[in-house]
């Protein structure tokens, strides 16, 4: 529905934006960034930092761009001398008490104070003969430290907890230049979404203990991904350093998670760095597992699948991608197939201020995708099927000792596509190393039927390959074949050929924010932005 549009000119660039748009947002469309601290598109705007003051022709004073709405014919100057001088003034004021902590501050390299000071701050300080205000570091909660000396009192953290988390446990204490962010120790910062205040903090004042002194921002490789923690499908960035995942951060997606992710997802990345991986394809020979090359392993897999009579059971992890689940399902095709995915459950934790955003009970990222591909969630029933199936394929499932015992006793052929080597699978015919979601490209479908891409963030360890590659190679027949998918996108196309709901969508269509699937045809709305 088209809003009434207003025409404005920002630093010489004309744009037309909906009525009621703030100048700071209109400027984005003009390709102009208005420097700011306290403003954030997912928080109510208080206009306190005064960094976003811009020159508006015919206004006697500089106007704060974050709360001033556009008017027809307005001419705005973001980078004129008065506006730049005002910003230089704000930066100077911020730096008088802000310590020169850059060499020891985690935020360095991704610090908005650093960035703007380099861009337009003064070269030196005029405050040299006075002591800076000092307060000791405070422990706010299980993961969060507060360094008051670095705080610029933008109050994003206070507003997040009050307005978005609906849990006002952070305050501004005192007045004037004595002010700082405070908590009451009877209600610490342990809200399930509290980690977001660290992202929101423009400087190194609110810090994650988990990430403390772990890596320098400029050493990090940043990859767009999707959180594998639950069915919400929050968009994230995986930060790696030297191929080790060191941090997960939310990535903006206004349709899914706005700018936030929950602490459960955020802290749950260590499994991506596990070293106890299956290194090479293993085939069972002479009563034990022997490492071999992929050609031999694929040939053996082909044999096993073709040779297994009777029903098939797939025991899959809920973290497996659409591509992997789809092609493995096709691989075992026969009259009776029981395909199940594992869905561990936990408590739901909504983020009150954002509609339809919560840490979901189902702690897997691709439940919807799996269900669209014919997988069910009746795990116990599937395990019982194992006792009579001709072929059992384990797709990276987390097996309990009981599950492993059942598999050990299974009469049929057991093939494991797995990441972590476990002792209990020593009776499997084949143990083939697969990649985790951080080591491959792929797609997940979240609980709103939004299909979203995730990208490879670290290299594949050992000889691990994506599960879709393994199944795809076997499906395409022995020897090199143009039908064997070489990329995740090709695998996705193969899945679309068998399941119409996924047909007709390219990876480019999915972009960085995904598309909502509908009724077997890809939807155009929920546009990738």
């Amino acid at each position: 529905m088209a809003d009434e549009l207003v025409n404005v000119t920002i630093d010489g660039v004309p744009v037309a934006v909906p009525k009621g748009t703030a100048i700071i947002e209109a400027a984005k469309q003009a390709g102009v960034l208005v420097p700011h601290y306290c403003y954030h598109p997912s928080l109510p705007a208080p206009a306190v930092c005064r960094m976003c003051l811009v020159e508006v022709e015919k206004s006697p004073k500089l106007m704060p761009a974050c709360v001033t709405t556009v008017t027809e014919g307005q001419v705005v100057h973001v980078n004129s001398d008065p506006a730049k001088k005002a910003r230089e003034g704000v930066l100077e004021f911020l730096l008088i008490n802000h310590p020169l902590d850059c060499p020891i501050c985690d935020q360095s390299g991704e610090c908005e104070l650093q960035d703007y000071v380099f861009q337009e701050g003064r070269a030196g300080t005029r405050y040299s003969e006075f002591a800076k205000r000092y307060n000791p570091v405070e422990d706010f909660g299980p993961d969060i430290l507060y360094v008051p000396n670095r705080c610029i009192l933008c109050t994003r953290c206070v507003r997040f907890m009050e307005d978005v988390a609906d849990t006002p446990v952070l305050n501004v204490s005192e007045r004037g230049d004595r002010a700082f962010i405070g908590i009451d120790q009877s209600q610490r910062l342990d809200h399930p979404w509290s980690g977001n205040v660290v992202d929101l903090c423009p400087v190194g004042s609110l810090l994650s203990k988990d990430f403390l002194h772990k890596a320098r921002a400029w050493d990090l490789d940043k990859t767009a991904s999707v959180c594998p923690g639950c069915t919400q499908g929050c968009n994230i960035t995986i930060d790696t350093r030297d191929d080790v995942v060191v941090r997960l951060r939310p990535r903006p997606n206004l349709e899914v998670n706005r700018h936030f992710m929950c602490d459960y997802g955020r802290m749950n990345y260590r499994w991506l760095n596990r070293g106890d991986r299956v290194e090479a394809p293993l085939i069972r020979e002479g009563g034990r597992h022997v490492a071999t090359d992929w050609d031999s392993a694929l040939a053996r897999l082909d044999q096993a699948v073709r040779g297994a009579t009777g029903s098939a059971v797939i025991l899959a992890s809920g973290r497996a991608s659409v591509e992997s689940l789809g092609l493995v399902r096709r691989l075992v095709e026969r009259p009776r197939v029981t395909a199940a995915i594992q869905v561990p459950l936990g408590d739901e934790a909504p983020l009150a201020g954002v509609p339809n955003l919560a840490l979901r009970r189902e702690r897997v990222p691709n439940l919807a995708g799996a269900e669209l591909l014919g997988y069910g969630t009746a795990w116990e029933a599937a395990m019982r099927e194992v006792l009579s199936a001709g072929l059992v394929v384990v797709l990276d499932a987390d097996l309990s000792p009981a599950d492993e015992a059942a598999l050990a006793a299974a009469p049929g052929v057991v093939v494991v596509l797995g990441t972590v080597a476990t002792d209990g699978l020593r009776n499997a015919q084949l143990v083939l190393p697969v990649t985790t979601m951080a080591e491959e490209n792929g797609t997940y479908v979240n609980r709103d039927r939004r299909i979203q891409r995730y990208h490879q963030a670290r290299s594949q360890p050992g000889m691990a390959r994506p599960a879709w590659w393994i199944a795809g190679e076997v499906l395409a027949g022995p020897g090199p074949s143009p039908d064997a998918p070489a990329t995740a996108e090709e695998a996705f196309a193969l899945v679309g050929a068998a399941w119409p709901v996924f047909a007709g969508l390219s990876y480019a269509d999915l972009g960085f924010t995904g598309r909502v699937l509908a009724d077997g045809r890809p939807a155009v709305v929920g546009a990738a932005r």
Binding site: E162, D166, T167, P168, V169, L170, N171, V172, S173, E174, R175, G182, I183, D184, S186, Q187, H191, A352
Partner: protein, 174 residues
């Protein structure tokens, strides 16, 4: 504003703490609720009631106020620390505030401060006298500039104080 998140009913019932909002005080608070559309608006009045009852606003009292008004303790603390008339630690029986802003400053307010610090035995600003009677602080403009130098002793607003008048004034306070 949501109700206090996670704050149980007993967070303020620290050992030995007697609640303020019982009996008559509670009834007065309930009466105040009828004068404002939100309970939150009763925060400043409620804090005054605590200070009137106890002389200062202790941590358990902050929790009690939070619970009674459906706010978080952190929120209440943010308000308490903003307003300088609320004491967050014990003070002398008679709390003396002396205006030293410019209009009174040019009429000798600093000499009045010195006389008070000397005669009370407090010695320095913010300290409580050894006999526990007085605490003296400097405050900003008290709104009686034509009657320099004004002081507040507890709730008693005394105008036109000079160093010479200080001993007689102090004698009125046991």
């Amino acid at each position: 504003m949501s109700a206090a998140h996670g704050a149980g009913a007993d967070t303020h019932r620290e050992a030995g703490y007697e609640p303020v909002f019982v009996d008559g005080t509670r009834r007065e608070l309930e009466r105040l609720f009828t004068q404002y559309p939100t309970k939150q608006a009763c925060l400043l009045p409620a804090l005054w009631m605590v200070q009137e009852a106890r002389g200062w606003i202790a941590e358990p009292a902050i929790h009690e106020v939070a619970e009674v008004l459906g706010l978080t303790p952190a929120y209440v603390k943010g308000v308490v620390t903003f307003y300088t008339m609320y004491h967050t630690h014990p003070v002398g029986r008679h709390f003396i505030q002396v205006c030293t802003t410019s209009p009174c400053n040019i009429c000798g307010a600093e000499a009045v401060v010195e006389a008070l610090l000397r005669e009370t035995g407090c010695g320095e600003l913010g300290a409580t006298s050894p006999d526990g009677r007085f605490t003296v602080i400097e405050v900003e403009c008290l709104g009686a500039c034509g009657f320099a130098t004004p002081i507040l002793v507890g709730d008693d607003f005394i105008e036109s104080v000079t160093p010479e008048k200080v001993p007689a004034i102090l004698q009125r306070y046991a």
